[in-house]
């Protein structure tokens, strides 16, 4: 079992873990624009730093000294590093936005007006307009297919090169503007006005231009602002105490102290963390319509997962051959293979796979004169007629009826086997054979069952460790549902589920204060998707489903829910870890700065200079430099997110407190000492 639930993203490159100089260079113009105080106002911590930097600039101009200018430069760098962090984070979405924009070329649409079509610009289309699109043409806007079926190349948005089928009616009727019809002809009713299409929303999302602060981000900002005010008070009131003590401090030193104490590390990286979190989702081909939903994903208590396609492979497969009394298993295998030759369904193919694996029966080519009897809904059987031999395979009742019609009869043991398979949640297929127009006899039963995807149990165990309950939703009868649920290791099943049942289940969980996540694609999923706290719509799904959910998975892979939950948690953990680190840093900074400030007036405070920093000025400068550089040092972590291993809350807390709490206390002692050595060596102070 892998230690993490995160799958490698399939279509987009993994997020780079280091920053290239090129990346920083491209981000620089954005970073400089970010220095505008009106934009910094959103981040009170960094705003205070900028005001401090402006103040020291004036002081340095009035009374120039190497120390004053060094401090001033590093304070400006502190602000610049913060805006650079945000700019780098934003830059990562820009490339993707550019490729999306390319799909938005102005195209010509053939709009249906009365009995004719007229050519109009795609930008002039309104909601409700009907257009015709044929092979080779670009679909002019978002809409639903109302007539026809076509294969469509959606690689422009999903990155997946294999074409997908879009057809009128059902759950695969939604088409996206900018995608290309590869074959056939469809008639599309436009559902989104130009400028508000899916691609437009995607561009806005990946560029972060619509980014709003999420609830938790706002709450954290309140706490950070308060800490800033408290330290502002502590530093402003320090001067009267210092004056009283006969150690009046240069204003530049007070500004340096203030900047070192306020939580600049997290203040600088907070928005980058948020943007990077969204970006991680985008890289996994998930589009979150709001950051709020990403945060909610971290809090999810209950996951509703559809059985088919999510937990099981989606098709029933032959799992066993059970011969009737007195029948040679090899004969049953042979008959099962023969009867499935004409069965093109996945179930039929799985029978061929089974007999090949179990009995070494290869595909046969000696079927001269064979007449294949394909499966028909009326007979509910398939089979083959050979000279002198007929083989049939199908639903128990249908095959037994056929046996009886030939004068044969089925034994009681067959009925018992059929019942047992049904009871275990499987599907029995009875195989019978008729030789030379005599009475047919039952050879045995094929056990078809839902095959649970590999590794699902481990995933659910991991989720349970995280405190998340999984509920499997299926249309199967309760018996079947329970059997599969047990095998897959889910916590609960919702059997014979109608869309109303799903909605009711979500409401019930929410009444109890739990947060629910689900994935869905059909129109009838829309109410449940809208009700769920995290609703992930499949991109292959209907427009209604996509609009109801708050995320869209471009890969249409319902297991993605698990990754979404992890990304949500990772986002919160990264914020918490860097805040803790930031506050823990203050301990060491006090040891660097306070003795430096007051050692002249009170030589005994020199004892507190545990780092043995060279001089008061080098000590203060080193603390300021460390404070600035730590932002750059932690930027990759902010962009990548703190490593997350699914485990209990206590274990996570212990680990993160150790790394970021204790680490946050120790790291600056080392860092400041190192910088002091450098500063001294370079003679900067």
């Amino acid at each position: 079992m892998s230690t993490t639930l995160l799958e490698k993203p399939r279509t987009v490159a993994a997020a780079p873990t280091t920053l290239s100089p090129g990346q920083l260079a491209t981000a620089l113009p954005g970073a400089l624009r970010g220095l505008d105080p009106r934009r910094l106002w959103d981040s009170p911590v960094m705003f205070v730093v900028e005001v401090g930097a402006a103040f020291t600039t004036v002081l340095a101009v009035v009374e120039p000294s190497a120390f004053a200018w060094s401090i001033t430069v590093w304070l400006w760098l502190t602000v610049l590093f913060a805006t650079l962090a945000e700019s780098v984070a934003e830059g990562r979405g820009k490339a993707q936005a550019a490729s999306l924009r390319a799909t938005q070329r102005e195209t010509t649409a053939r709009k249906v007006v009365g009995p004719d079509t007229v050519e109009v610009a795609s930008s002039s289309l309104r909601v409700g307009d009907v257009v015709v699109v044929v092979a080779g043409e670009t679909i002019p806007g978002d809409g639903d297919v109302i007539e026809g079926v076509a294969s469509v190349d959606e690689s422009a948005i999903t990155g997946e090169s294999a074409p997908v089928i879009r057809e009128s009616g059902g759950d695969r009727s939604a088409v996206t503007g900018g995608t290309v019809v590869l074959s056939d002809r469809i008639v599309v009713r436009i559902t989104a006005p130009a400028g508000h299409t899916f691609v437009d929303r995607m561009i806005a999302l990946v560029e972060g231009s619509e980014r709003q602060k999420t609830p938790n981000e706002v709450a954290l900002n309140v706490l950070l602002t308060t800490l800033t005010i408290i330290f502002l008070l502590a530093v402003v009131t320090l001067q009267p105490f210092a004056v009283y003590s006969g150690a009046r401090q240069p204003l530049i030193v007070l500004v340096a102290l203030l900047v070192c104490l306020i939580p600049t590390t997290i203040g600088a990286l907070l928005s980058a963390i948020g943007i990077a979190g969204m970006d991680r989702l985008v890289r996994r081909n998930v589009l979150a319509m709001s950051g709020r939903a990403v945060e909610a994903a971290g809090d999810v208590d209950v996951l509703l997962l559809d059985k088919t396609g999510t937990i099981t492979l989606g098709n029933r497969q032959a799992a066993d051959l059970l011969p009737a009394a007195g029948v040679d298993p090899a004969l049953l295998a042979d008959a099962a293979q023969l009867s499935s030759m004409a069965d093109e369904t996945p179930e039929g193919r799985s029978v061929l796979v089974l007999v090949k694996e179990r009995f070494g029966l290869r595909e046969r080519h000696d079927l001269a004169g064979a007449e294949l009897v394909p499966f028909a809904a009326r007979t509910r059987m398939s089979g083959v007629d050979l000279p002198g031999r007929s083989v049939r395979k199908g639903a128990a009742a249908a095959v037994i009826r056929w046996v009886r019609s030939t004068g044969g009869h089925a034994g009681d043991d067959v009925a018992a086997t059929v019942d047992a398979i049904s009871a275990s949640g499987g599907t029995p297929l009875v195989v019978a054979e008729q030789l030379d127009a005599g009475p047919a006899r039952v050879l045995g039963v094929i056990h078809l069952k839902d095959v649970v995807k590999e590794g699902m149990r481990e995933r659910f165990d991991a989720l349970r460790a995280m405190g998340i309950r999984t509920v499997m939703v299926t249309g199967d009868n309760p018996l079947t549902a329970r059997a599969i649920g047990l095998e897959a290791g889910v916590d609960d099943v919702l059997a014979e589920a109608t869309p109303e049942d799903k909605l009711a289940l979500i409401r019930r969980e929410q009444e109890g204060g739990r947060l629910v996540a689900m994935a869905g694609d059909g129109t009838n999923d829309a109410p449940a998707l809208a009700q769920a706290d995290v609703g992930v719509a499949m991109n292959t799904g209907t427009t209604a489903a996509k609009e109801a959910g708050n995320m869209v998975d471009l890969d249409s892979n319902p297991t993605k829910l698990l990754e979404i939950v992890e990304i949500g948690k990772q986002l919160l953990i990264t914020r918490g870890a860097l805040t803790t680190f930031s506050v823990a840093n203050d301990v060491a900074k006090y040891f660097a700065i306070l003795p430096a400030m007051f050692v002249v007036a009170f030589p005994q405070l020199g004892v507190l200079n545990v780092m043995h920093l060279t001089s008061p000025q080098s000590a203060i400068l080193s603390a300021v430099v460390f404070n600035a550089l730590v932002i750059v040092a932690l930027l990759p972590l902010a962009l990548r997110g703190v490593r997350y291993t699914p485990s209990s809350a206590s274990a996570l807390l212990r680990r993160n407190l150790l790394v970021y709490g204790l680490g946050g206390v120790i790291a600056p002692f080392l860092g400041i000492k190192l910088i002091d050595l450098l500063v001294t060596a370079l003679g900067m102070s």
Binding site: G513, D586, L652
Partner: protein, 554 residues
């Protein structure tokens, strides 16, 4: 060596008594605060006050009741102080000046009991009994009422922010908790030698042949509630160092137990009110850790007696009573500063430099270990929310405590609470140290003088009331400014806590799961202690480094 064992023995006795008593007392307070029944005497009270004790109040109404009651109390005390010479039992005391009366009125209503005056030289018996003693009871009851409202905020969900009835809480806590406890405690104190009479000054011939004027008074009854309610306002200026208030080492130990009793029992009450006793244990553990650390450090400081003078004198006995010695004085000093009591049995100005520093830090942590009656617990819960906010993020969930989400509004209230005390202390001290009127009161200059001023504002802003001594604060400047500090330091936090209680009560409950951060584990207790020390402590490091730290390193 024997001094060390005496110290450990005394601490051991106090801890043992508290360990035995805190559970039944905590359970009793739980029943008092949750029972639907009213006593006959309480009904009479409600009828006189014309309130319906069963009417649940929203947090805003609850807060208005607290403020209205406190305002009325301030006015009554102010009147009694200004007019005491025209009232009975004045024993010849002059009326207090306006600034002094304001300071004293605010001081007792805010459970601070800062005394700028000498009890025996300024306060008549009526003022002491009908004014100050009454406030000793009700100001303590207000603290418990507020924390009860907060506990209800956690315990209730989806209500329209109703958090109980202030009048019922006030009356019940007074009648069923404070009065009986104070009565028993007073009897024990009298048995231990504390005086209880209504006599005025008596002339006594001394051994040296001179005469001395000795004041009697209803001391034991005052003394009991002074400690129980973490008030600290002494009958005499010397407070618990005075032989009439605290005659023997045994009464001394008893007084230490009394002042720790309710603050250490309330976590149990809280745990039961929110339906999870483990949460109460966790809070108790965090409070105890800080208290034990402070007592240990202070005892070490006084016994080791670092510094020039104690070394020369062979012990840090300056300003201490010989009948108590260093250890009992240290135990009392640590307990009184960490409970926001402010009673003293020694001169804190004369504590060794590190010892005085510990006493000062005990207050500057925001009086949460265990803190004042009620106020210590709500202060600790606020810090828990800060800890939960950081820790909750680190486990990958939106932070929650006791099933309530800590969102923007909750953290805003908590942040303002955390901001209030440092603002009061820092701004107050900075003003005092910058103006001649503030510096005029100093006994000494230098780092010790700075400690004196910061101590005064720490004491007022945290509603402790203990004085470092040395600083003359009976001036209009200090009376006014410290009165303001006490007022803001008490009622702004109360308003924020009640608003928080209302927010929490209206929230739905989030069920606990495996992903929920457990808040009863040793790990969390450790985190809470660290947050208390780091988040609150860091604010004061610069100013402390110029006071006690410099002194200690001299």
């Amino acid at each position: 060596m024997s001094a060390t064992w005496t110290a450990i023995g005394q601490i051991g006795i106090v801890v043992l008594v508290l360990a035995v008593v805190h559970r039944p007392l905590g359970d009793h307070m739980f029943r008092v605060l949750t029972s639907p029944r009213h006593l006959a005497v309480e009904r009479v009270g409600y009828r006189v006050m014309r309130v319906d004790p069963d009417a649940e109040q929203r947090w805003s109404t609850y807060l208005l009741s607290v403020l209205g009651f406190s305002l009325a109390s301030v006015l009554v005390l102010f009147g009694l102080g200004r007019l005491q010479d025209r009232l009975p039992l004045d024993i010849g005391m002059a009326p207090l000046d306006p600034a002094g009366a304001w300071n004293t009125a605010v001081s007792f209503v805010t459970n601070t009991n800062w005394q700028w005056y000498s009890g025996e030289a300024a306060a008549g018996h009526l003022f002491q009994m009908a004014g100050l003693a009454v406030q000793n009871f009700v100001s303590a009851a207000v603290g418990i009422a507020v924390v009860a409202a907060l506990a209800r905020g956690f315990a209730r969900h989806g209500t329209d922010s109703r958090v109980g009835n202030f009048w019922a809480d006030l009356v019940r806590v007074t009648v069923r908790v404070l009065l009986p406890l104070a009565f028993v405690a007073a009897l024990v104190l009298v048995a231990g030698g504390v005086i209880q009479n209504l006599s005025a000054h008596a002339e006594i011939g001394t051994l040296a042949g001179g005469t001395q004027s000795v004041l009697g008074g209803p001391v034991a009854s005052q003394e009991a509630i002074k400690e129980l309610g973490t008030n600290g306002g002494g009958f005499f200026n010397a407070n618990s160092a005075h032989p009439f208030e605290n005659p023997t080492p045994w009464t001394n130990a008893l007084e230490v137990v009394l002042l720790l009793l309710i603050p250490f029992s309330l976590p149990r009450t809280f745990g039961r009110m929110v339906g999870d006793r483990r949460q109460g244990w966790a809070i108790l553990a965090a409070m105890s850790t800080l208290w034990v650390a402070a007592v240990g450090l202070l005892t070490w400081a006084e016994l080791a007696g670092p510094g020039l003078v104690p070394a020369a004198a062979g012990g840090a006995m300056e300003g201490k009573e010989v009948r108590f010695g260093e250890a009992a004085s240290a135990l009392f000093a640590a307990s009184t500063t960490m409970t926001s009591t402010g009673a003293v049995n020694s001169m804190h100005d004369s504590l060794t430099a590190p010892g005085g520093g510990v006493a000062l830090v005990g207050m500057l942590l925001g009086e949460v270990s265990p803190g004042g009656v009620g106020s210590g617990l709500y202060g600790m819960v606020v810090l828990i929310i800060v800890a939960v906010f950081l820790a909750g993020l680190m486990v990958g969930r939106t932070p929650e405590y006791l099933g309530k989400k800590i969102g923007r509004q909750e953290i805003t209230l908590v942040a303002l609470y955390v901001l209030t005390m440092p603002a009061v202390v820092l701004i107050g001290s900075a003003i005092a140290i910058s103006v001649p009127a503030g510096l005029a009161g100093q006994l000494q200059g230098g780092p010790h003088g700075l400690s004196e001023i910061v101590y005064a504002f720490a004491s007022a802003g945290n509603n402790n009331g203990s004085a470092f001594g040395g600083l003359t604060t009976g001036t209009p400047f200090y009376n006014t400014l410290l009165g303001l500090a006490m007022l803001v330091g008490r009622f702004v936090p109360i308003a924020l806590v009640l608003a928080l209680a209302g927010r929490l009560a209206s929230q739905r409950k989030v069920p606990e799961g495996a992903g929920t951060l457990p808040t009863h584990t040793p790990l969390f207790v450790g985190l809470l202690v660290t947050v208390t020390l780091v988040v609150v402590g860091l604010t004061f490091v610069p100013v402390l480094s110029l006071g006690p730290v410099v002194e200690s390193l001299s």
